[in-house]
């Protein structure tokens, strides 16, 4: 935060566009493109009344898709939470040839279109796999796709914290005879937890809504590998926007919840630092 100068009454007409115009334009644009359409989803989901909403959300196939989505997204966040922390540690504290290239490659899942990500995994882990592993059309395939697309979140959130970490504490602990494992769990990990949690939360949010990478590899088998976003898509295709909107509202609620949680973790993290 810039606190150097008072929030001042600047001479009108001079200085930077001090927020009023910028705020108006951004809010208007955000409302037009994002908020109004989302309101339309909520409205459509309630068009037939609360009962119709509830019937759509509690239909067996919807419940099954939502439950599977939640579980697989949680698993994704947990696995990439651990793997991401480990990779971040290796990228920050270890030295090996090619480290910069590896570091740049981490962002590949963000840069690669999701449909290509799905096809890519299918090439190695689908029918015709050169290593004889075929997980296509299974729940494991969905997990694999989600692990791929959410890989960078935890790494990119933990890396900067690890870089800034004061190493004196670790040295002090070591000089007092603490073993590396103890130093990690007692000294390093506590400072990383907020970053790990917010990275994992982002990964979770992304996994809950993911569509492109999952749609080819999962086979969309209802009651088995069908995730919520694919369920919504199928409802749109079969001209049932009401049902699609109802499940979408559940997904929207989850997204908001995660955003709020990330804010909370962020606030807690910055308090932690002081």
């Amino acid at each position: 935060m810039s606190v150097a100068l008072p929030a001042g009454r600047r001479r009108s007409g001079a200085g930077v566009p001090s927020g009023g115009l910028a705020m108006g334009v951004s809010m208007l644009w955000l409302s037009l493109i994002v908020l109004i359409p989302l309101a339309a989803v909520v409205e459509r989901s309630l068009e037939g009344g609360l009962e119709a909403f509830w019937n759509s959300v509690s239909a067996r196939q919807a419940v099954s898709a939502l439950r599977f989505t939640l579980l697989v997204a949680l698993a994704t966040a947990a696995i990439n939470g651990v793997a991401g922390t480990l990779i971040a540690w290796v990228l920050v504290r270890d030295q090996f040839p090619g480290k910069r290239a590896v570091n740049a490659l981490i962002d590949l899942p963000f840069a690669l279109p999701t449909i290509v990500a799905g096809l890519t995994l299918l090439a190695l882990y689908g029918p015709g796999s050169p290593i004889g592993v075929n997980v296509a059309l299974t729940k494991l395939a969905v997990l694999l796709a989600l692990l791929f697309v959410t890989l960078p979140f935890v790494i990119r959130s933990v890396q900067p914290v690890l870089l800034e970490l004061d190493r004196e504490m670790e040295e002090a602990a070591a000089s007092l005879g603490a073993r590396p494992g103890v130093i990690f769990t007692r000294v390093i990990l506590p400072s990383l937890i907020p970053a790990i949690l917010s990275g994992a939360a982002l990964a979770f949010a992304r996994a809950v809504g993911e569509f492109g990478s999952v749609v080819l590899i999962s086979g969309n088998v209802p009651f088995d590998t069908q995730v919520a976003s694919v369920f919504v898509y199928k409802q749109i295709e079969s001209d049932n926007p009401g049902g699609a909107a109802a499940v979408s509202v559940v997904l929207l609620g989850l997204s908001m919840l995660v955003l709020v949680a990330i804010r909370y973790v962020g606030a807690w993290g910055s308090r932690h630092e002081r």
Binding site: A4, A14, V16, G20, V34, V41, D94, L216
Partner: protein
């Protein structure tokens, strides 16, 4: 933490192994599969009329979307950092929504506003404007999904540079526009460039939201990512790989741009 050599190498192997199994080997394999039939085949496959029209549509959508996002991003970043209005926190909370929402839900939302039976459907039909199942729908969907990138990259830079220089310019008699153009914009240029790269990559790669609103008419509303899906579903695996390789090349270019600009950004 001074870990002994064996642990360190063990951790390194696990980390790199995870990356290899998840990222490197699959992506490498797609390139291998694409080119094992020879360059000629790939060239033919990405120069069919449908593929060329998909490529141009994808580029056209990105060319419209990215400037819009850049402009919005600058405004939003200014509002977030410099704004002193009660709406600031609300904007800060809402701006990340597009990242947290499923692309399919985004597509549905646009359908329910601009579609035939949507909120503005009848009026749009009367005026003879078609948004859903045509290019404007694809553009709006892409703007939605890639909206926050520039704002999120520019805001921290704005915060860091502070307001002293801008106020000095104002004191010296520069008007708001001059101050922005001569002082603010040069200071945020690398953050802006980074956001633009991320936004471009997302615009080119968007699939879910676009697939709901596009209608997927070959030669008209079919983007590259939709072409990949269609070829795959029509059992044209080699064709799908070729189109994917093209998209993957764009992604690698994005990574390169990111690391080059990222280095500049941290120098500045």
């Amino acid at each position: 933490m001074s870990v002994d050599r064996r642990t360190r190498i063990g951790l390194r192997v696990v980390a790199l192994g995870y990356l290899a199994v998840l990222l490197l080997v699959p992506v490498g394999l797609v390139f291998y599969r694409t080119f094992e039939k020879g360059l000629g085949f790939v060239w033919e496959s990405v120069t069919t009329p449908a593929a060329i029209s998909a490529l141009f549509l994808t580029l056209e959508v990105a060319a419209i979307t990215v400037p819009l996002n850049a402009a919005f991003g600058i405004f939003a970043a200014l509002a977030l950092v410099r704004g002193r209005f009660p709406g600031r926190r609300l904007l800060d909370a809402l701006i990340d929504l597009p990242f947290a929402i499923s692309p399919v839900v985004i597509g549905l939302a646009l359908l329910l506003v601009f579609g035939r039976t949507g909120w503005f459907g009848p009026e749009l039909a009367e005026a003879g404007i078609q948004i859903i199942f045509s290019v404007p729908g694809i553009v709006i969907a892409t703007v939605f999904v890639s909206m926050p990138f520039v704002a999120r990259e520019v805001a921290p830079v704005l915060e860091e540079i502070g307001e002293e220089q801008e106020q000095a310019a104002a004191t010296l008699g520069a008007n708001a526009w001059q101050t922005f153009w001569r002082v603010t914009l040069p200071a945020i240029r690398w953050g802006l460039a980074y956001g633009v790269v991320l936004s471009t990559a997302r615009a080119i790669g968007e699939f879910g939201a676009v697939s709901v609103v596009s209608g997927k008419v070959a030669g008209e509303t079919e983007t590259l990512t939709l072409l990949v899906e269609k070829r795959f579903q029509n059992f044209d695996l080699a064709g799908a790989y070729a189109a994917s390789a093209l998209l993957a090349l764009i992604a690698l270019g994005t990574l390169l741009a990111m690391s080059l600009i990222g280095a500049r950004k941290s120098e500045a």
